[in-house]
Symmetry: C2
Subunit: 226 residues, 2 copies
């Protein structure tokens, strides 16, 4: 094709494909971010070698990841930066807005509401919930804080698809249960717990301690490759 | 053995083993956390089936993960909770204290310094750095804020092994370069960038937007398994 870009699959075919390994789906946002950086730098085409350098992956891994979603790029010409970014954003569902509900408005929850990085990427916290009756019934900025018992109705009323959990560990599982009961299928978890959810519910943990603990293995003084 | 626990490898053999897949190392902190929960609940033994339920993994995956580090548990008897937790903490290097240096003391950096979750797990922010000269030369709590140019000396003086990056995206790569130049081999990255580091330097990103973006794929309305 004229723009150096081909795709075997229509959007609908792509979307109904559930055989994509989860780890590949988890890498796609990184691709989108790196492609945006290339775009900002004025690059029109990018090779899998160059993408690989940025993502610390091999070119073969990158070609394999992308092959799950169709054929992008032309042999020897690389990928059209803008087109690939658009396509991956569409595959990931990033070409629309997603409403989120936050549970727990302590210090962490308030920082999450104030976090400026969500909205430009299409994520909007539209409701907040708290178990403390004195907090629930207040408002933070333009967001009403409601009792936990109102999760289910609010999720339905406001079209909330994403839950954000920022409660203490001891209360976390019951909050997960309430979100699942309300039909939520994607949860961002700031609580330091491994929650129990049904297999069709995705949970991503934001946990700096776990991240640190997965690096110290490589720091130990008797490792020869450190 | 009397406690239902066996191990084929000495600590030193375990530590020099660099053939453990990184994804396995990344899961071990989750094992430790779940084992701590079992311990708090008074459990003495736990099966790979039960661990699997908690971690949403198959028992076979769990046995395979653990087999990289020796043989834990006895056929049909499961794992000694306390002993396995201790051993995994030792393998991960969590049985000691790690000093960290934070770069960037804006709103996010200050929240990281104030975060109460690090210290009980053995992670201590002992120094902070900022490019703004008016901030560097101040102090936050008992932590001095120093100029970026002092990273290398401070890392050596205070035995800092871990870097934490909380600067805006535009400044992030130069901060990574400075940390790598100072000999840091483990970096917790809060900046929304994919940094370039040598292969022997580990980076873990804390990025709620990437986490959200890796879930929306599964939320799209035309998915049949959502």
């Amino acid at each position: 094709m004229a723009n150096g870009y081909t795709s075997d699959l229509s959007g609908d075919d792509i979307r109904s494909n559930s055989d994509v390994p989860e780890v590949v789906v988890q890498r796609l946002p990184l691709y989108v971010r790196v492609l945006s950086q290339f775009e900002s730098a004025g690059a029109e085409m990018v090779s899998s070698e160059h993408l690989g350098t940025q993502l610390q992956m091999t070119p073969a891994q990158i070609r394999k990841d992308l092959s799950y979603f169709g054929r992008f790029g032309k042999q020897g010409r690389g990928y059209n930066v803008k087109r690939l970014a658009l396509e991956l954003r569409s595959i990931l569902g990033l070409d629309r807005q997603w409403n989120a509900g936050l549970v727990g408005v302590g210090r962490l929850g308030r920082a999450i509401i104030a976090y400026p990085g969500f909205r430009p990427e299409g994520f909007r916290v539209v409701a907040a919930f708290d178990a403390d009756p004195s907090v629930a019934s207040s408002a933070i900025g333009d967001i009403d804080v409601r009792p936990i018992a109102e999760i289910k109705n609010t999720v339905a009323d406001l079209g909330i698809r994403i839950g954000i959990v920022a409660v203490p560990a001891a209360n976390a599982q019951s909050v997960f249960d309430a979100l699942v009961e309300a039909g939520i299928k994607a949860i961002l978890n700031y609580a330091p717990v491994a929650p129990q959810v049904p297999p069709n519910v995705k949970v991503r943990g934001i946990d700096p301690v776990l991240a640190l603990q997965s690096m110290t293995y490589f720091l130990k003084p008797d490792r020869t490759d450190g």
